[in-house]
């Protein structure tokens, strides 16, 4: 971003990578896939790079409002400093926080999740998938992330992205408004689960495997971790893949 500004250019959209997209080895692959799509389509985008910091979402959900607001204010100062108007992110938690919670602290941006951005590219004919590529006719199930679905009512964008793959979309018993959480939200990602008789991600993975899908599609870094761990726990990782929407599109396009 700093380089663009120095060159006097303004990006169409800022790609908010998020901490998982920046540091988590698995989710870095999603970041790269999404960047490949953006480059392929020729979208003029920018990233903040080292100037990006945690949105504060996990701190807020864990009760530390001070830390959240410190993070939020600092991020808003950076974003406003660059005159950012539109943000796309591959993390529903960042999406929810920047879209719904930054306005009260003075940060007003148009924020879209990458599933919505991809849907737009497909609808505009900028990403064309001829016969769906390698996913044609394959069974894919989509795991709704709470912070995308119930929190913000985005259920159709990820599904229409999958439909563009010409895959057979199979729904889990609990989907859309009734979708079962992967178990990582609300700060759970950063601590052990409380005592119980089962891990939430195992319960959800069992449901996903019951659909017979060979791919579990996700749109969230935490869901990615939880579902991948669940599939490994069930020793199904050689037959069932957990993939992000951007990865599926990039693969289908051979990017």
């Amino acid at each position: 971003m700093a380089e663009l500004t120095a060159a006097g250019e303004v990006p169409e959209v800022l790609f908010w990578v998020g901490c998982a997209g920046s540091f988590d080895d698995r989710y870095k692959a999603v970041t790269k896939a999404f960047v490949k799509i953006l480059n392929h389509v020729g979208v003029k985008f920018a990233v903040l790079g080292p100037e990006e910091t945690c949105t504060g979402d996990p701190a807020r959900r864990a009760g530390n409002e001070f830390l959240f607001q410190m993070q939020a204010m600092a991020n808003i100062q950076v974003l406003d400093g660059y005159g950012i108007k539109k943000i796309v992110t591959a993390c529903p938690h960042c999406f929810n926080t920047i879209k719904n919670e930054y306005p009260e602290l003075g940060g007003n941006y148009e924020v879209v999740h990458h599933s919505q951005f991809l849907q737009q590219l497909i609808d505009d004919g900028k990403v064309v998938l001829k016969n769906g590529g390698e996913f044609k006719g394959k069974k894919i199930t989509f795991h709704d992330s709470c912070y995308l679905g119930r929190s913000n009512g985005v259920y159709e964008a990820p599904r229409s992205v999958l439909q563009a793959l010409d895959a057979e979309l199979v729904e889990m018993k609990r989907c859309k408004t009734k979708g079962l959480c992967c178990g990582a939200g609300g700060g759970q990602m950063f601590k052990d689960a409380e005592p119980g008789n089962k891990e939430i991600n195992i319960e959800r993975t069992e449901e996903a495997l019951a659909t017979g899908a060979s791919t579990i599609a996700v749109g969230c870094p935490f869901c990615m971790t939880m579902m991948s761990d669940g599939v490994k726990n069930k020793e199904q990782e050689s037959v069932v893949k957990v993939k992000d929407l951007a990865e599926l599109i990039a693969e289908a396009k051979g990017l």
């Binding site: 990578v17 901490c19 997209g21 920046s22 540091f23 988590d24 870095k28 790269k32 960047v35 990233v47 790079g49 080292p50 990006e52 910091t53 945690c54 996990p58 701190a59 807020r60 959900r61 864990a62 009760g63 530390n64 409002e65 001070f66 830390l67 607001q69 410190m70 600092a74 100062q77 929810n96 879209k99 719904n100 919670e101 602290l105 709470c146 912070y147 119930r150 929190s151 913000n152 408004t177 979708g179 079962l180 178990g183 990582a184 939200g185 609300g186 700060g187 990602m189 950063f190 601590k191 052990d192 689960a193 409380e194 005592p195 119980g196 008789n197 089962k198 891990e199 939430i200 319960e203």
Partner: protein, 441 residues
């Protein structure tokens, strides 16, 4: 003319009106123990939400079987109560079936229609009793339902059955009395359902019939008064609270957490950002987050009084499904019980107890994934998540009592600007990796 029944009726009506009024005033005061929160915006959207969710029971119809049965009781409750108006007027004026004289055939139709509703209510209540006590549906038998909550639920169903039986019995005896030309019993024609019960009363003497009809009449109306009072102490209060509670629904996206402006001011001062308006120092004794009911908003407490303990929230909760101690229904029941307790202490929370600790444990609030499945499931738009998050704020900011791994996460965010312990300078590494790969090709 004998005025004694009228005087007794006036007395009973007066006593129940007073008791209900006193109880409603207490509930209102208990709800207002909560701190202020502004829900005065978007009145059009609010009326619409109330119309769809409370009046139209939109969210109930996610589960067809209970929704249909519930709808019959709901419709019966609202419509049969039109008849209560006549009964009250009869009781006050010493008349009998006041409306029959000038409504004619329409009266017969109306009462017959009410009788159909009464039968539907009766059948639904029986099915609900079976679901609770014989089929033992899981959500009615969670740990928080032991004792009074289970009894309360069954009592409500039994009382409703008794009230419906009283209507039908009263009407049947009435028709026999009419057929014998007993004075005072206005000719109404035959009612659809109760006419089938007439044969059971044919062998009664006129006096016995009078006793049976009057007993059923008194049982029905005093039963309704008593039930109305009982409801104010019961989970059944949802029949009234559903309406204001859905009117004051949260209209923002479910994922949005309430801001804490008092913290915003402090953070702005720390960052050297100008603070708008008057940066008044936080009030004496003010705390961050919620420890007790008076730290929650009035809306949280209204939620608690609107909860009918149906358990749809708990049966959708990922933590509860996997055996954790968290049950969103219990959060609401605990909040209401504590509000009652504080209300009984004249609004004082200085009884050595608090909502957090004595009712709700840290283990429960720490188990929440904030997935909002409970909020989505609630037929009257209650949010247990909002209470949980306010309690977490208290634990994290006032007690520094968050789980150790959350404290590590906090310090990672503070020092590394990410919840994990990675060097901030590595944040852009993925781009270098992409470039390396590309240049290698």
């Amino acid at each position: 003319m004998n005025l004694i029944p009228q005087l007794i009726f006036v007395l009973i009506l007066g006593v129940f009106t007073f008791l209900i009024y006193r109880r409603v005033a207490r509930i209102k005061a208990n709800i207002l123990l909560g701190r202020s929160a502004d829900y005065s915006d978007q009145s059009t959207a609010r009326w619409k939400t109330m119309g769809l969710v409370a009046f139209g029971q939109k969210k109930m119809f996610k589960r067809w079987v209970p929704a249909t049965l519930h709808f019959m009781i709901y419709a019966g409750f609202i419509l049969i109560n039109l008849e209560v108006l006549e009964i009250i007027l009869d009781g006050l004026l010493g008349t009998h079936r006041l409306f029959a004289a000038f409504m004619g055939g329409f009266y017969t139709f109306l009462i017959s229609f009410f009788e159909i509703l009464a039968v539907l209510v009766l059948v639904s209540c029986v099915v609900f009793l079976i679901r609770r006590n014989i089929l033992k549906l899981d959500r009615f038998h969670k740990i928080e339902m032991k004792g009074w909550p289970a009894l309360d639920a069954n009592l409500i169903l039994i009382i409703e059955i008794a009230l419906m039986v009283a209507i039908l019995k009263m009407n049947a005896a009435d028709q026999v009395l009419q057929s014998r030309g007993v004075p005072h019993y206005t000719q109404t024609g035959s009612f659809l359902i109760s006419s089938m019960l007439v044969p059971f009363f044919q062998s009664y003497s006129d006096n016995m019939l009078l006793v049976a009809e009057r007993a059923a009449w008194w049982l029905h109306i005093v039963g309704i008064f008593a039930f109305a009072l009982y409801v104010t102490y019961s989970k059944h209060l949802h029949i009234f609270m559903a309406f204001p509670n859905t009117y004051y629904s949260r209209l923002e996206p479910k994922g949005k957490m309430d801001n804490m402006p008092e913290i915003t001011n402090e953070v702005k001062m720390m960052l050297g950002v100008p603070v708008e308006g008057d940066p008044a120092p936080p009030a004496e004794g003010m705390k961050f987050g919620a420890k007790d009911v008076n730290d929650l908003t009035w809306k949280n407490l209204m939620d608690a009084y609107a909860c009918t303990e149906c358990g749809r929230c708990t049966s959708e909760c990922p933590a509860n499904i996997t055996g954790k101690s968290l049950s969103p229904r219990k959060i609401m029941m605990d909040t209401r019980d504590r509000a009652e307790e504080v209300g009984a202490n004249a609004g004082s929370t200085d009884d050595g107890k608090s909502l957090l600790g004595d009712y709700i444990t840290k283990e429960e609030i720490n188990a929440c994934t904030t997935c909002n499945a409970c909020v989505e499931a609630c037929p009257v738009n209650i949010s247990p998540v909002e209470i949980i998050l306010q309690l977490r704020r208290y634990v994290a900011m006032e007690e520094s009592g968050a789980p150790a791994s959350w404290n590590s996460m906090f310090s990672n965010v503070e020092t590394n600007f990410a919840p994990w312990k990675f060097a901030p300078t590595d944040r852009f590494k993925w781009a270098d990796e992409m470039l390396d790969k590309n240049s290698g090709e």
